[in-house]
Symmetry: D2
Subunit: 306 residues, 4 copies
């Protein structure tokens, strides 16, 4: 079970599909193994990047089950359960916990008005989930602002074990939350960064315990966390900077998941870069740009290793 | 099966719940009977006002089945199938058609960018549904604009049988669509108005074939359609005006469905005015205002009838 | 100078233009006289409905000056000064106060994130204006939510004399503010309703001191306030209901101002129904609908008077 | 006068302020000189990043005049003139052209509905401006989508000389526009990229003629354009990659301009990093991060040069 001491890299997994659109469970196994081999401390599935809203409930639980069976308890798995109604949130979260998930991630529903409504919604969601709760702060998607003071209030509930910090910009908020903790105004929670990995060194320097994101080279994220943990800021930044051109390409809204699956396929981690419809298509030009950046990246990493 | 000659009042049905939150199937039967008794030409279920996004898939099909069994083919039933992914849209729409639905209603997905993307999305959705298709034009909800010219393009597909016109303001668009038809630039489709019934007389005068809405006194909508059809504009408006204060109260965003269920309960049509969480709560003050307006309405209708 | 005892009908004035687009100062005089003759307790100029964002600064102050000169202190005039930057807010508000305005109305700037940011913005705006301050709560326009608790905080500043309550739905918030006042948690402020007049009887019953809106028949608003003040709720509602069809037509987003100017012109209050570009155009069909409703209204008022 | 052969780096200039908030005209001169010395092909002033909406009209024209007097015709200066109404757009654009501006930049007004409305708005804006017209495609700010097909229609007007391509992602649209030109479906226009410089190499490879952005090291942008022009893609990317960490920091929404002014001040280009209120404040932590990245950048550039 996830608790407030969680840290490291939680890889957000896409949901692999076969060319016809069905779940690709073989790729699911291979991907799970690859992420663990890359040094992941955890995995997160059925998030936005997992195309969760495009799965039927049965598919969702089939996928959760497959991942958990493959993981076999080696690392904790967080399952996204944001939904328009609490009935579905309950179905997915309880179902996943029964299958062995370590925690459930939820973001405030779009359309909530005012701080109180958001705090109240999350309080209700924690009752619905009734297990280790990861609060996802992703205003670019939800349109909902959560200030450090609001997060402090939510964290009074012992079930809130982790904040996934995905605001953009969000570094000052991260600092503000850690400050509230230091002042005794809220319990210390695990904080994992996000926004595609764009600010990993800064997030860690500001006090994040790691990152939860789906960048297609998770081993870099792991290494940067290690280097930062060892106080080697320059070395961490050197490695990070090599990946930033590809990260920048991957975080483009709408297009990002298609690029991520393309890279994962090229790396042999999943068999197909299929997205469920409706969804964006990656152009040949974009593919060429990604190929170019991957080539540069591999050469640069080789140089850095040498 | 729904076709382009459809007309009259299609009542948008809420989904009745028991106090614990489960489907209230007895109320479902009673409500179905009441709407048919009120003169409904059709029913629409699992729309936004049916809290469709808060139902599990199994509940959705259970509800569809119950309504269809009760209707027994007396009137056509349209099922809402808008969904984030085509997989769920297919599941709901094919499942509902198999159970006997007359048509499927879909609105463009929020976030589509530019006219072409919207037209293309609807073309794909028609392939997914592959049955009588009702295009829902509801920009207040979706953020998507559909101009008359775009609707004309979509209507080239024979499967698009009906436009549910819910833009606000939308009367000039209704006129523009009818003009394109008259000029031979698009086939004639059925058009039903909406926006809670607020503009029913004007919609009919502009060429709508009826209305699809969930106002809690559907018999008034039926009567206004009849009076307008008989050329009795003043009489139609006289009756309509009596209901406008309550319509105005019912169309308040966010709060409307709670009020609608409250009225339906007071009228004995459903047993409970329960909404699924998360959702708004109606205050005692609002209830008092609704009570007052219902009292005035009944006295006024009695006077008008006398 | 406006203070917390303000009440009655503050008519929101449009800005009249000549066919070429220049300010129509003769109509400005006539309109000012007409509103005072209709029983207005105050006037509000340079609001959204005054096309303020389409005026140059010089035009704004010319218009303010003309209205104030015509009013000659007979009623207080509130000037809207919302602006993207405090520099312009200061220019308009200080300029208007120097010319004799009674107060300044400001809404939170779109894009503010979280309750604290909104409260802080308004605190700064009160310093900028540094005169009697009217807080405009108009989330449909600004996207900003202000809860009763936030309003209570803002009202601690003595300069905040009035709340223009334009949320939709907003009646429960109005009740909540009055409750906070009754509990001693905030000073009593003047509250005027809005939303085009759609809920005038309810607003007054919930504790509003009047209404600030631009409905083209302000004498009805005045009469309803008087009847409600005299405890004649049914009579108030009877009169109000006669106007509701036209109010409903006038509050259509985007189109409303064109309709309002059309009615004011037909009533002889302004000479031209010109809007500044870019702006909506009213169709002949809409004009016909408005003509029809105005005809019905006049006949009904004659009947009611008889 | 700007024409369709424009290319290179058009630096978007901030508006420098003194600590009290007044225009800092000395810094304006120094900044103008610095940008020309950095190799700018043009300058763009009074854009969003120039805090244009926070200036009074008089200040706007004072600033335009100062820049133009300092430039003395050495490079073309584009002036942003987007405004809620055409009256102000005309005042700023005609005023600026009279003072010697080379062109006027306008984006579609937020709130336009549907492709036709956008195309029509821009047609009207071109009549208002009636000079060399730069179409700004910045949907993150305006919420308006412009497809390649829409841009092709707008470009039929000879006055539209340039597209500032700021969609995100926008590379495929850039390719699509160039394809329409190649197919003879629209005249060739100048295209400058944007989005803070994040995709400069890709934009140029896709056919952009340069970039219009305000990144605080414009000499890098110039150098990358030169290297790409010389076919040295790898060298261009090497240089670009050194700056990407800082670019990434600078493009954070809301915070970006504060960071940009901070860097320009540290580089000695402007005297103060003052923003007009209301506006974001940069934290000490962010300043420290920027300092760190600037230090790394300078060392890396020294290494690259060596």
């Amino acid at each position: 079970m996830l608790d407030r001491s969680a840290k490291g890299v939680f890889v957000i997994a896409p949901t692999p599909f076969l060319p016809g659109g069905a779940l690709d469970l073989d790729s699911t196994d291979r991907m799970t193994d690859a992420f663990i081999a890359a040094g992941a401390s955890g995995m997160t599935i059925l998030g936005v990047m997992g195309e969760a809203p495009k799965l039927t409930e049965a598919e969702s639980l089939t996928f959760v089950d497959r991942v958990l069976k493959r993981v076999k308890g080696r690392i904790p798995v967080v399952v996204g359960a944001s939904a328009p109604g609490f009935a579905q949130m309950k179905a997915i979260s309880r179902g996943s916990m029964d299958l062995g998930a370590a925690g459930i991630m939820v973001s405030p529903a779009p359309g909530l008005k005012g701080d109180e409504a958001v705090v109240s919604y999350i309080a209700q969601a924690m009752d619905v989930v009734d297990g280790p709760f990861v609060l996802q702060d992703y205003p670019q998607l939800t349109g909902i602002t959560m200030t450090a003071a609001m997060i402090a209030r939510m964290a009074q509930d012992q079930r809130m074990v982790m904040l996934k910090a995905e605001d953009w910009p969000g570094l000052d908020k991260l600092t503000a939350v850690r400050k509230l903790e230091a002042e005794g105004k809220m319990p210390r929670v695990a904080i994992l960064g996000g926004v595609g990995g764009q600010f990993l060194p800064e997030e860690l320097a500001r006090g994040a315990d790691g990152i939860m994101t789906g960048y297609a080279y998770p081993e870099m994220l792991v290494k940067v966390c290690q280097l930062m943990g060892a106080g080697r800021r320059d070395a961490a930044q050197d490695l990070f900077d090599l990946h930033l051109p590809l990260i920048r390409t991957e975080v483009q809204p709408g297009l990002g998941l298609a690029i991520r699956k393309y890279v994962l396929k090229k790396r042999g981690i999943i068999a197909h870069d299929v997205l469920r419809a409706p969804g964006p298509k990656m152009s040949a030009e974009t593919a060429g740009e990604v190929d170019y950046l991957m080539g540069r990246l591999e050469r640069a990493e080789a140089r850095l290793a040498a």
